[in-house]
Symmetry: C2
Subunit: 245 residues, 2 copies
DNA sequence: CCACGTACTTTGTCACGACAAATTGACATG
DNA sequence: CATGTCAATTTGTCGTGACAAAGTACGTGG
């Protein structure tokens, strides 16, 4: 990437913020092409005569704002242009159906596994205790769109089978079984695809993905599901803002 | 603050995250009282045998999650319990009216000032160029609730007077003048009150405040206002989550 | 041609240190 | 009693450095 950044060390604006603003401007103006990789952190720090923590702080801001994605071992990449989806709890399956596209689902996993620590924390279960793990690829019109991993309370296992998941959305199955997804806290971001994900989504290596990690509660307030979804960023984005009602 | 933190350096969970989780547990369990000050960063780092950046990273997480507020020169404080307000664009004035309380407004400033750099950036005007600066204290039932600072495009100046602001909300005045607030990006957080704010809000020194910084656009997509509001945290919180529609 | 292993690349984490900026407390003065 | 000043306190910023973890590229063997 060839992009000139001018930093004013006399400015009261922190260096990391100037750097973030400059990169943002470069991205939005097109000087830094969408999809391109920035240099690595050490190289950028040398190039702009700042420290690596300063570069990281600037990049962190832009990652948080959705302009960049980064992946250990791969690098930092400019996010491709986005298409918008409102910030709601509607399921991807239902949204696709509603818009006339034919979502298809390939189930990669549907089994009890020992609970990873972060999942255990979110579901309020003992680390290592069994949880239901589901991993699916969703496509529309034969184009890969999302890879979705979900961990659910073990008690939900009897309600869900791999066959069911091919033809119905997860929340529909939960509701049929009497579980009422009601309230979620979601964390949105982005990163580049792993090889596996790239293969599953039929995107090129290092394509940026929109990521969404969610903890769903049922209507009693109990956490029932941790979702970790990645979406092909060319076709997917979630917008967090608010319009005058 | 006397609170024992146990960190496992063999754990794959990063130290900063263990620390954040432990502090969070201490806060939610009541072992670390609401409103209390944590020790300073250097002291905490010594106490827990980690580095100051590690402590800062943990605190940053908890600040982001709304458990802590921090202020340079003051310290890091546990946020008091919260009351909830949905994440909408309704004005505080209208909300209070709707709930039967009598909001009163004291106008501290309503004048053109040179634009601070961050405001200029948000409003897309030259730094230093004049913007309309408004600062008010809002109370309800004679209890201080909010201190609100707003910077608006200079072109809005003729639409708003100090007298108007005493009896009407800002957005009502804008609408009367033909400006249509439509879309905002908001950033929510918390910190402790400055002496001035504490005095204005009639809260004790170092009381935690909910902070909201907002950039409002009109219906043409142009940024028209930067808002910087602080609310007495005992009476105010904004919830960012989503409920099944 | 595919799978596996290794080396390299890049980000993530952690540590140490220094200095600046904002706030408060203490004290002096009018 | 109010105000101003200064020192102390605490967070914010920036720098340097090292090592771990995740991912990729490449080479080799089957």
């Amino acid at each position: 990437m060839n992009y000139t950044v001018v930093l004013d060390r006399q400015s009261p604006v922190p260096l990391y913020h100037q750097l973030a603003a400059s990169l943002k401007e470069g991205i939005t103006s097109g000087c830094i092409p969408k999809g391109s990789l920035l240099g690595n952190e050490v190289g950028l720090a040398d190039r702009w005569s700042v420290s690596r923590p300063t570069v990281r702080r600037a990049i962190e801001e832009l990652v948080g704002d959705g302009f960049l994605v980064r992946r250990r071992g791969v690098g930092t990449q400019v996010v491709n242009d986005e298409v918008r989806r409102p910030f709601t709890l509607s399921s991807l399956y239902d949204d696709l159906n509603a818009s006339g596209r034919r979502p298809t689902t390939r189930v990669l996993a549907c089994e009890l596994v020992p609970s990873p620590a972060t999942v255990a924390e979110s579901l309020q279960v003992e680390p290592g205790s069994p949880v239901l793990f589901i991993r699916r690829v969703r496509s529309t019109n034969d184009v890969g769109l999302a890879v979705m991993s979900n961990w659910l309370l073990a008690s939900i296992d009897p309600l869900v089978s791999a066959d069911d998941l091919v033809t119905a959305g997860l929340y529909s199955l939960l509701r049929k079984g009497g579980v009422r997804p009601h309230y979620a806290v979601q964390r949105l971001g982005a990163r580049v695809a792993t090889r596996e994900e790239a293969s599953l989504l039929n995107v090129e290596a290092r394509a940026p993905l929109v990521t969404m990690r969610r903890v769903m509660q049922d209507d009693t307030g109990r956490a029932i599901e941790v979702g970790d979804h990645v979406y092909d960023a060319r076709h997917y984005v979630i917008e967090m803002s608010v319009v005058e009602s």
